[in-house]
Amino acid sequence: MELMYGYFNGEEVSWDKYIQYAVSDMVNAGLDIVSDGQTRDPFVQIFTRKLAGCRIRARTEIVDKVEYNAPITLKDQKYARNLIPDDKGLTGVLTGPYTLSKSCINLYYNDEKDLAFDFAHALKQEAKVLQKHVDMISIDEPFFSNETPDYGKELIETITKDIYCPTRLHACGNVSDIIPELLEMPVDILSHEFKASPQIFDVFKEYTFPQKICLGSVRSDNTRVESVEEIMEHTKKGMEIFGEKIVQLAPDCGQRLLPRNVAFQKLKNLVKVGERING
């Protein structure tokens, strides 16, 4: 009913309250780096709603050339920045171009690759704007775990090239089969679901690579709250394989589908492990 208040009273509907809920939970749990919580929309629509060429229906339909109009997530990021203490970092999250292209119904492009690259060019514009306001830009590419196109690296590079703040690529699911491709990605940090898919540890240890690691350490698809001891054991396993490369502990993926109290408790336990490790 609150959402209708603006309609009945002629006032703009504000999402600030929802961003505040998400950010305050992350801050109160003790995280060092938080995001705006992506409360405004599902992760595809957040971007397609504001890009030219996209029409929102049950799914997003591509009806014209995809182009960047104006900043998409900047307002929410600035608001989130105001909510967090100075010693906390802020992550700007972009839904990756390949995931966007695969999530939409293409009614315009003859070649899906052209669509993915137009998304990438649009996201590059967003990244350029965001880098002045966030401490890291994270690119979500869940579709990479289904299939990574041969132009995957080029897509990510389109976004990250000349971006001066650290970048992270998050590909969830079991990425065992695409680790060589992931290691080619021009980003500073690789982020994966090590908790739900522990088999990827074994594949990663076969390689040397320049990127740092964000270690997924609590499941996002399961309401069971992992104990501190369990997370510690998982983290130690990660440290045996990656050593100093591990720069972040995080949930496996977004916690949108978890009850709020469960998500909060998972974050709290995650933070306790981080504190123990860092002394």
Partner: protein
């Protein structure tokens, strides 16, 4: 002035028809009663009779839209409906308070008035309790307000009808159908000035072409919320009434025109527009106006 390729549904409530191709049926006009303060039944009766008389003279069906702000008004207003409205006259109830919504439905059921009731409205703020009450006491017809706080464009309005823009579990159309409401009108959610107001008008043909459902809006909302227009007091009433002609011009089927006191100017204004549209539509598309159409009153 145009015709839709999609088949247009014609819905009927208590002998009032609404919908169809432009030029076929007259624009249905909803006049609001009891917006502010204590309900003044004596004045309301005068306004109501005046509106029904205007409806007879012009041919445009009138729907009194009863604004029920407090639970304590429910009994008095429904008694008024029973006493004053002709037995074949449909009406709408416009309620924002969730608790009042539940009670009014039960009361309308008890008084056997649901078959003449247009429920105004179903929107993304619908609660579980409201769904339960609507399932139990289902009105004959309901208006869905296609307000999407995320996107006020015609596309955003379609989104909220289709999938609830992820603010409700399913789209508002499916919610209404699941509740057992068979007759649905779409209100394109006119907002305040400067808030993509033209989209409420532009969305009318988009939604009619997509769903074929009777569509309209309360374009009066824009005028009411305009501070600028208060500097032109004489023109404001004219602007308010004439705004409604945009609805019929864009193929719409109904206008929620604001306070019933505006009926004197709204009915002839909209009837005149309906006549202009009908003349062209019949010549070009061969759609003859219904016997009730204002154009039939002109000759």
């Amino acid at each position: 002035m145009f015709s839709f390729t999609k088949e247009q549904k014609i819905l009927e409530i208590s002998n009032t028809k609404i919908g169809g191709q432009p030029g076929l049926y007259p624009t249905v006009l909803f006049g609001g009663i009891f917006f502010k303060g204590e309900p003044d039944f004596e004045t309301a009766e005068k306004y109501l009779n005046n509106m029904l008389n205007l409806s007879k003279r012009t041919g445009n069906p009138a729907i009194p839209d009863f604004f029920i702000r407090k639970e304590e008004y429910i009994e008095k207003i429904t008694n008024f409906i029973e006493r004053v409205l002709p037995k074949s006259q449909p009406f709408s109830i416009d309620v924002t308070d969730p608790q009042v919504k539940l009670r009014i439905l039960e009361c309308l059921h008890e008084k056997n008035l649901l078959s003449r009731t247009i429920y105004n409205s179903i929107h993304v703020g619908i609660t579980d309790e409201e769904r339960e009450a609507l399932t139990k006491y289902t009105p004959e017809m309901a208006i869905i307000v296609a307000f999407n706080p995320k996107d006020k464009s015609p596309d955003g309005k379609i989104e909220v009808l289709e999938n609830g823009a992820h603010l409700t579990d399913i789209g508002l159309l499916d919610i209404s159908k699941n509740l057992g409401i068979k007759k649905i009108l779409i209100d394109t959610a006119a907002l305040a000035p400067g808030d993509n107001t033209g989209a409420a008008i532009a969305a009318i043909p988009v939604i009619k072409e997509e769903y074929g459902l009777p569509t309209g809006c309360a374009i009066h909302n824009v005028v009411e919320k305009s501070k600028w227009l208060y500097d032109f007091e004489y023109a404001r009433k004219t602007v308010d009434a004439s705004s409604n002609v945009n609805i019929s011009l864009f193929g719409g089927d109904f206008a929620i025109f604001g306070p019933i006191g505006s009926a004197d100017i709204v009915f002839p204004t909209v009837a005149w527009q309906d006549i202009l549209i009908s003349e062209y539509i019949e010549n070009y598309f061969g759609i003859s106006p219904d016997e009730s159409h204002p154009r039939r009153k002109l000759f």
